[in-house]
């Protein structure tokens, strides 16, 4: 391949350099009707699943068609989206916080045609390209992290587990039959780049084996004090060890020792020190958490709680994961009151009932033993249900 210069001169990196310019101003990209009515919207309505209408003081109406996509997206697919936006929406589109895509038009008729067109677009393998939905009291797109496709610390794949879950719940992406919205999030390790800790349902990759220590290389690749300091439970200490090198030589090296029974499998040490990998085919898997939310509506924002301590990695289609998510969703859909979020429902009926209704098994792993907050989750009352 022939190298093509952008104009950058590696010998003079400061020549014509432009820095610190930030993003483009959003106003350059707003559709005209949005720009015109900004700050002057009166109300909105969900006309049908996937179509929103916003009414402005001016009398203007804008119809938004919302549809899902994989967060991992090729330039080819983005160009296809651009073709659609050029044809139907004057070259404007937007993405939502939950990896949905929105196209805006000015009449309901256009919106319905657009919805029909988007729903007809499919990949060769048969999956939808642009399924319309993700509105109201239903299940919208799952936000997630990188997983095996691009990360060094994951305990599972992200795109694959999310695909499986959304295949399972696809009908509810296109419908609004739930008591309230269900927000599902996925993070592939405890670092939680996906911040799943306040989701109605959270899927979390988790390691269960302490780090393997690459003694021969550790002192060359890591700062030992940083590895020691990285451990939240103080399980890592500096150590010396006699080893036989790959070349057969015996020598004493500076390394670390891990008190394995204190390991919480967070992988923080591995982040600081590549000589302490945790990943393992049978050790790694998923934790399911439920009942969190970020909205302040009716009740305060709340954290998700662990409801399944471990599901093994079962690529490519993670059947147990899909089954567990379905159990939670159906129990909630049939048991909760209108407007009641999953966590509010669980609190109203009691978590003992939650396990009964969902058919999930409670185990000692669900009793918090991590530092002070644990105490506040134990039952300090005689009020409970048999």
């Amino acid at each position: 391949m022939t190298f093509i210069s952008s104009g950058y001169n590696p010998d003079k990196p400061m020549e014509n350099r432009i820095t610190d310019i930030g993003p483009r101003h959003y106003s350059e990209f707003l559709p005209p009707i949005i720009a015109k009515n900004k700050g002057k919207w009166l109300w909105h309505e969900i006309i049908e699943p996937g179509i929103l209408m916003h009414k402005a003081e001016s009398g203007d109406e804008v119809y938004t068609v919302r549809f899902g996509g994989a967060r991992l997206m090729s330039t080819g697919l983005i160009n296809e989206l651009c073709d659609i936006a050029d044809k139907y929406c004057g070259g404007h589109l937007r993405f939502t916080t939950r990896n949905n895509i929105e196209l805006m038009v000015e009449t309901l008729d256009e919106a319905k045609k657009l919805k029909e067109f988007l729903n007809s677009q499919k990949f060769k393998g048969g999956s939808h390209k642009f399924p319309v939905g993700g509105t109201g009291a239903g299940i919208t797109n799952v936000v997630h992290t990188q997983g095996w496709i691009h990360c060094h610390t994951p305990a599972t794949d992200a795109s694959g587990t999310v695909k499986v879950v959304l295949d399972e719940l696809f009908e509810d992406y296109k419908k609004m039959r739930m008591p309230a919205q269900i927000r599902i999030s996925m993070a592939c390790c405890l670092n939680m780049c996906g911040a799943v800790h306040c989701s109605d349902i959270a899927i979390l990759g988790y390691h269960r084996k302490p780090p393997i220590i690459d003694h021969e290389w550790l002192d060359n690749l890591c700062e030992i004090p940083l590895a020691v300091a990285a451990c939240p439970t103080g399980a890592i200490r500096p150590a010396k060890k006699e080893i036989t090198t790959e070349a057969g030589e015996t020598k004493t090296v500076n390394t670390v020792a891990v008190r394995q029974e204190r390991c919480m499998f967070c992988g923080n040490c591995y982040t600081m020190c590549p000589s302490m990998p945790l990943a393992d085919q049978t050790g790694d898997g998923l934790v399911i958490m439920a009942g969190g939310k970020v909205s302040n509506r009716i009740s305060n924002p709340k954290f998700s709680k662990v409801v399944v301590a471990f599901i093994p990695n079962e690529p490519p289609r993670w059947p147990t994961l899909a089954k567990v998510i379905r159990q939670i969703v159906e129990a909630y859909a049939s048991g909760a009151r209108k407007y009641e979020r999953l966590g509010d429902w669980a609190e109203r009926i009691g978590w003992e009932r939650f396990f009964e209704k969902t058919g999930l098994e409670f185990s000692e792993h669900m009793i918090d033993d991590f530092r002070d907050p644990a105490y506040y989750t134990w039952r300090q009352t005689t009020n409970f249900k048999f």
């Binding site: 350099r17 820095t19 610190d20 919207w41 969900i46 996509g69 160009n79 589109l93 109201g136 009716i298």
Partner: protein, 437 residues
């Protein structure tokens, strides 16, 4: 013809939800055919090798990506995530596979010419794969080689007037909900404030000088669509101080069934006729609403602005007019000490340009955190370690009951010497004059 057999990944092409495998395969195909005659600057089989290495992970249940190493563009300490494959001989196309974070426009609106230009750069100089968008909000360009980093940065800044986002121990790329652009509940212009603060703090965003990462998120109302309260070290959440606007005719229309509650969000299940008592008044967390002479009344002084009634009856109720925002601090996801929610720091502040008062709050928090924070200690952890009262003190605010859900459960107050009459220096001889040994 695919370069690697991927029997496991192939099973993710079926099922109705958009298949990332199908999309990557199509991209691999486009690169193979190269109908646009692109002079690829990284291996043209990058997508094939990515599928290959992912198939290997699906087979052996572990990742094949190594730690980043130090890569980036000159003068910046963030915006590029280095990534190398741990099986480079098997998958040379992805041996070097660095990510670039590109700062998205606030609210994530685009014009197609902008996206097409970005795609052209990324087809030529990268993998042709992206995330729209990453968890923090950036456009993520997924996978390129070290020599291309400066070239891409040059093209982004010179031809697209666009900068990189944040990574590492710096201000991460701020994110905002779509706010006033298309939402009647936005209590301030989230997009403008996100843009202005992003511009004000470009140095903090590009050059890591903090103990750890720091996130701003801007939510226009307490519905918190960008999850600021859970996901940002400093959350700016729109609110108001005066009364909820009521259109009694529209209230009557909801009661009469002419208008669909909650904007029609529950259409696919029969929940029965709308019952304002059951669905609004009884669910109000402060019980500050009632019906009197057929009219809806609200005791606004008792309202905590949870948004429920407004969400249910968007055509009848409106957010107040004396608008501003609340600032909550210290949210983060787990490790080291577990998840933290944002804690209320500033109950109400006006969100008006040039945001000087808000910048003062931000900068006093940063000064404190940079002075006292340990390496890799998030703001929320410092607040836990030194106390919320300390945090309130450093921004020069008066502690008020709004800062807590309830007062402390113990009397172990760390009194300061200056708070105690006469101070702490006492004379034992004087004490013994009145108290024998």
């Amino acid at each position: 013809m695919a370069k690697h057999a991927t029997p496991l990944l192939d099973q993710l092409e079926s099922g109705p939800w958009p298949s990332f495998v199908a999309d990557i395969k199509e991209e691999a195909d486009r690169r193979r055919k190269n109908e646009k005659n692109v002079t690829y600057q990284i291996p043209s089989d990058v997508c094939d090798d990515l599928l290959g290495v992912l198939e290997l992970s699906y087979t052996d249940g572990t990742t094949h990506w190594k730690h980043g190493g130090i890569v980036g563009v000159f003068g910046y300490g963030g915006g590029v995530i280095g990534r190398y494959c741990d099986q480079p001989q098997m998958f040379p196309g992805v041996a070097h596979f660095h990510t670039m974070r590109v700062n998205q426009p606030a609210g994530k609106y685009y014009k197609t010419d902008y996206l097409r230009q970005l795609c052209d750069i990324w087809d030529m100089r990268g993998s042709g794969l992206t995330n729209m968008h990453g968890a923090t909000g950036d456009i993520v360009l997924l996978g390129t080689t070290t020599p291309q980093l400066e070239e891409i940065f040059f093209e982004l800044t010179h031809n697209m007037n666009t900068d990189l986002g944040g990574s590492g121990s710096n201000l991460r790329t701020p994110a905002a909900c779509l706010g006033e652009s298309r939402c009647e509940w936005a209590c301030y212009d989230t997009q403008e404030m996100s843009y202005q603060l992003t511009m004000e703090y470009q140095d903090e965003l590009h050059r890591p000088a903090f103990p750890y990462k720091f996130k701003f998120k801007f939510d226009g109302c307490p519905n918190c669509c960008v999850a600021s309260i859970a996901r940002s070290d400093m959350a700016f959440i729109g609110t108001w101080k005066d009364n909820i606007g009521i259109d009694q005719e529209a209230v009557a229309a909801y009661i009469g069934g002419e208008l669909k509650p909650n904007g029609g969000a529950h259409a696919d299940k029969d929940w029965g006729a709308f019952d304002i008592q059951k669905e609004v008044i009884d669910l109000c967390p402060t019980e500050c609403m009632w019906i009197e002479d057929g009219k809806l009344k609200i005791n606004d002084r008792e309202c905590t602005r949870c948004m429920h009634c407004i969400n249910v009856m968007p055509r009848a109720l409106r957010i107040g007019n004396d608008r501003g925002l609340s600032i909550l601090v210290g949210a983060k996801a787990p490790i080291l000490d577990g998840a933290q929610m944002g804690s209320l720091l500033v109950p109400f502040i006006k969100a008006e340009e040039p945001y000087d008062e808000i910048k003062e709050v931000i900068e006093s928090i940063w000064d404190w955190w940079m002075e006292e924070g340990k390496n890799r200690e998030r703001l929320g952890e410092l607040i836990k370690r030194q106390g919320l009262a300390k945090c309130i003190e450093v921004v020069g605010l008066k502690p008020v009951p709004q800062h807590v859900l309830e007062p402390r459960h113990n009397p172990y107050i760390f009194w300061k010497e200056e708070d105690v009459t006469g101070g702490w220096q006492r004379d034992i001889a004087e004490f013994r004059k009145h108290h024998q040994r």
